[in-house]
């Protein structure tokens, strides 16, 4: 099956998400759609999948112009899409989830009746091929992220899809599982399917793409064959300018490096909901940026919440400059000297119905008077808006009216304001373009040089390896590896992320000692 996108344009309000994009999708070929977040890759593919309809341009399927106005239409044409956010019902079993997505499922789903018939074989055929050991009666909520993604893939394959669109499939996978997926993608292409890989990762492109289409700010920058491109050239095409990692001063202040640790985590245990953390001991020195790597859902969220005092500890204590901040023996408390940039600030860090000014003031509400003086607060907010280029720049606007990226910038600005001992930052640059991410890293490093200890949670190993002074890996709520810069190795860290083995570095020092990076 051949598909041509011709001169596709899509606008959302005043934003042009796709601007005159033309693309050929051929049989047996893997195309990587490469671009930063917000470049318009997903938008383009959602039009092919019928979730959006283009404002201009046309889609040709096997040479005939076709209107794809719904996902059902796309699926009937043999176009399937695996989304970044899984469409799986956690409370239902693997089999139930497959049946939900199956084109013509049997009316009766009695296991007995259905078990021996041909229909269950049909539904489960691809599952058995891709994940032989997986019991179809397992609840999806008990599956790992990688397994869930496989399940999504099986759902799409069950639709007999000839064209597979994968939206950032490796963003949630540890390196080993990503490799397995690349193999799978190559195999599917050899079997004659076309695959569109939406990604912002170079490794994805290098591992399995035949062609690379680079997008930037809604425009198609260039289409290349894999042989004709290098990682460096792709990066510069994708970013547009050369403002790169290199120009951030990532060095630790040598005066600070010799000092004893500011923050000590001693044997932290906590349980909250389905997550738990288990015996986490770490020291972070002044000016040090400690990166926390790991596949999401391995306790990062809970560790951050427990540190800043949102979740009680069941054992252990957090010590700042020799003073106990959190301890299992008393109720958790928040502190004005601890900054917290949580994941998804739009949900976790702002009150959507309140204005930007109020949202900024909320971070230091203890210092506000009974009748707060809003003038200075608004001034502070304007300052943050200006420095972090928050758009729209009206401090009276409700926070809910800002986009996720702009809220992210606002929250980072708010949290890095004023004196801080500890900064806990979870995915502070998620959803931001390269320029804004650069500014945020810059601000984080400036704060660190003023003496703050930084705990930085990220899923982006490249960023962690280029910026962090040390990397600790969380796996199953435990520290499964602690790496100094000379030990930074993608594969080693990846192994620690999957819990394959414990690396040589001492995972958790039994007694507090200054572990200072070189």
């Amino acid at each position: 099956m051949e598909i041509q996108l011709y001169n596709i344009t899509k606008r959302f309000g005043e934003v042009t998400a796709n601007d005159g994009i033309s693309l050929d999708i051929r049989e047996g070929e893997v195309i990587a759609l490469l671009g930063e977040n917000g470049a318009g890759k997903s938008t383009l593919m959602k039009m092919l999948f019928g979730l959006y309809t283009p404002d201009e341009g046309s889609i040709l399927v096997n040479g005939r112009e076709t209107l794809i106005d719904s996902p059902q239409k796309a699926m009937s044409l043999g176009i399937g899409m695996v989304f970044q956010q899984f469409n799986l019902v956690p409370a239902l079993s693997v089999l139930d989830n497959l049946l939900l997505a199956y084109p013509r499922p049997p009316f009766w789903t009695f296991r007995r009746l259905f078990g021996e018939g041909a229909s269950q074989q049909n539904v489960l055929a691809y599952l058995e091929e891709l994940a032989p050991g997986l019991d179809p009666n397992t609840l999806v909520r008990d599956l790992s992220v990688g397994q869930r993604q496989l399940l999504e893939l099986v759902k799409v394959l069950n639709l007999n899809a000839k064209v597979l669109i994968l939206d950032e499939p490796t963003s949630v996978l540890p390196p080993q599982e990503a490799e397995r997926l690349w193999g799978l993608i190559r195999k599917m292409a050899e079997a004659g399917r076309s695959i569109v890989l939406i990604t912002h990762k170079m490794q994805d492109v290098m591992a399995c793409a035949h062609r690379v289409v680079v997008m930037r700010a809604g425009k198609m920058v260039q289409a290349l064959t894999r042989e004709n491109c290098s990682e460096a050239s792709l990066v510069s095409l994708m970013m547009g300018d050369s403002s790169q990692r290199s120009d951030i001063d990532t060095h630790r202040d040598p005066d600070l490096a010799g000092k004893p640790p500011r923050i000590s985590l001693r044997g932290l245990h906590a349980n909250h909901g389905v997550q738990s953390i288990d015996n986490i001991s770490l020291d972070i020195g002044p000016g040090e940026i400690l990166g926390i790597a790991g596949v999401s859902g391995n306790g990062q969220h809970l560790l951050a919440d427990a540190l800043v005092g949102l979740v009680p500890l069941s054992r252990g204590e957090v010590i700042i400059d020799g003073v106990v901040l959190q301890s299992a023996s008393r109720a958790p408390k928040t502190s004005d000297r601890v900054a917290y940039i949580p994941e998804q600030p739009a949900v976790n860090a702002v009150a959507g119905d309140l204005s930007l000014t109020v949202n900024v003031a909320l971070s230091h509400f203890r210092q506000l008077r009974f009748f707060p003086a809003w003038g200075p607060e608004e001034e502070k907010t304007r300052d943050i808006i200006r420095r972090y280029q928050v758009r729209p720049d009206n401090p009276a606007l409700g926070a809910g009216q800002l986009s996720g990226g702009n809220l992210q910038k606002l929250v980072v600005g708010r949290e890095l304001e004023g004196p801080r001992d500890l900064i806990v930052a979870a995915y502070p640059t998620m959803g931001l373009d390269a320029g804004a991410a650069h500014d945020i890293y810059q601000a984080l490093f400036t704060k660190a040089r003023e003496g703050a200890a930084v705990l930085w949670i990220s899923e982006d190993l490249d960023d962690l390896m280029s910026y962090a002074h040390r990397i600790a890996v969380l796996q199953g709520g435990r520290i499964s590896g602690l790496f100094n810069p000379d030990q930074f190795d993608r594969l080693d860290i990846g192994r620690a992320m999957t819990g394959e083995h414990l690396p040589t570095a001492d995972p958790a020092p039994a007694e507090p000692q200054a572990r200072i990076a070189s």
């Binding site: 996902p71 019902v89 956690p90 409370a91 239902l92 049946l99 939900l100 009766w108 789903t109």
Partner: protein, 310 residues
């Protein structure tokens, strides 16, 4: 010893009879909530069903016609909720309360001429083969048709919900409308059916109360049974099988209340009459403790009830 067993069985079967209206509502509301819609109006639907069922039975002289009319009235009133919630995207809590009050008002007004009327009842299993069964016959005899129908609804609902394609989509709608929509199924028909089924069951429950159990119509006669049923849905963890013990809990506390009064316990009957509400409430609190992490089986889609529509 034998008298104790007899006493206990009498209490159990009395509990079953008085629990039947509540059980029907729990089953209906559990199905409604399984689709991601909460309907607090079941009490109003029950009242309108009870009044309509009694009125039709009294005019036509056929109690079965009354039961059918009650089901129809329940569905009709539930459609108000459906229009407000599915059509106008109104807040489900507000819409449910509106239906509750509407049902109470309508049934009170149109029920006036029928207060004190006499109707033929649906009969019971006495004088059938059942009453000849040794030992159990005396307990099974007083069982009425609405009790049997409600009990039979449990396996029927459970097979439908857990063993059919439609039931699977029904459940997925309740877990996440968004995911269901992404999978290419519109949640609206399922939710409409779910609200209508809840209406049918609460209308039927009204008939079970007015036409069958008491053979009488009094304004506000459901006395909070519908609202208790909404709470019992949580105790039953949205599972039709657990609905039976949950509803029996209500029935047993009501039977206990009557027993205690007849024994002349020196507690005000007004206070004793709160037992059927206090006991399920305590069980609700106890059973909900420690379940919070897993949500106690709550359909995840119910969370949208408390989110404002954007």
């Amino acid at each position: 010893m034998e008298s104790f067993v007899t006493e206990l069985l009498t209490l159990l079967f009395a509990a079953l009879r008085s629990a039947t209206p509540v059980l029907a509502v729990v089953l209906g509301e559990a199905m409604t909530q399984r689709s991601g819609v909460i309907n607090l109006g079941v009490e109003g639907q029950m009242l309108l069903g009870a009044m309509t069922g009694f009125a039709v039975a009294s005019i036509s002289g056929d109690p079965w016609l009354g039961v059918l009319a009650a089901c129809g009235a329940g569905i009709a009133l539930s459609m108000v909720h459906a229009i407000l919630v599915l059509g106008c995207r109104a807040n489900q809590i507000a819409s449910g309360v509106a239906v509750l009050i509407l049902g109470g008002g309508l049934s009170a007004y149109y029920g006036i001429p029928f207060v004190g009327n006499k109707i033929d009842t649906l009969g019971n299993l006495n004088h059938t083969f059942v009453s000849d069964i040794p030992l159990l016959g005396q307990f099974l005899g007083p069982i009425t048709p609405t009790v049997l129908i409600t009990l039979l609804a449990i396996p029927a609902i459970s097979i439908f919900l857990f063993r059919t394609r439609t039931g699977l989509r029904w459940r997925s709608t309740g877990e996440s409308q968004e995911i269901t929509r992404n999978l290419g199924h519109s949640p609206v028909p399922y939710q409409l059916a779910a609200i209508a089924f809840g209406g049918l069951m609460s209308g039927f429950a009204g008939a079970a109360l007015a036409v069958d159990y008491t053979a009488n119509w009094v304004e506000g006669m459901t006395a909070g049974r519908g609202l208790v049923a909404v709470g019992l849905v949580i105790v039953a963890r949205w599972n039709p099988w657990y609905a039976l013990p949950a509803a029996l809990l209500f029935g047993a506390s009501e039977a206990l209340n009557l027993k205690l009064q007849s024994w002349g316990v020196p507690i005000s009957p007004y206070l004793l009459a709160t037992l059927p509400y206090l006991i399920p409430l305590s069980v609700l609190m106890l059973s909900y403790r420690g379940l919070r992490a897993s949500g106690g089986g709550m359909p995840a889609g119910l969370r949208v009830v408390f989110q404002s529509a954007r």
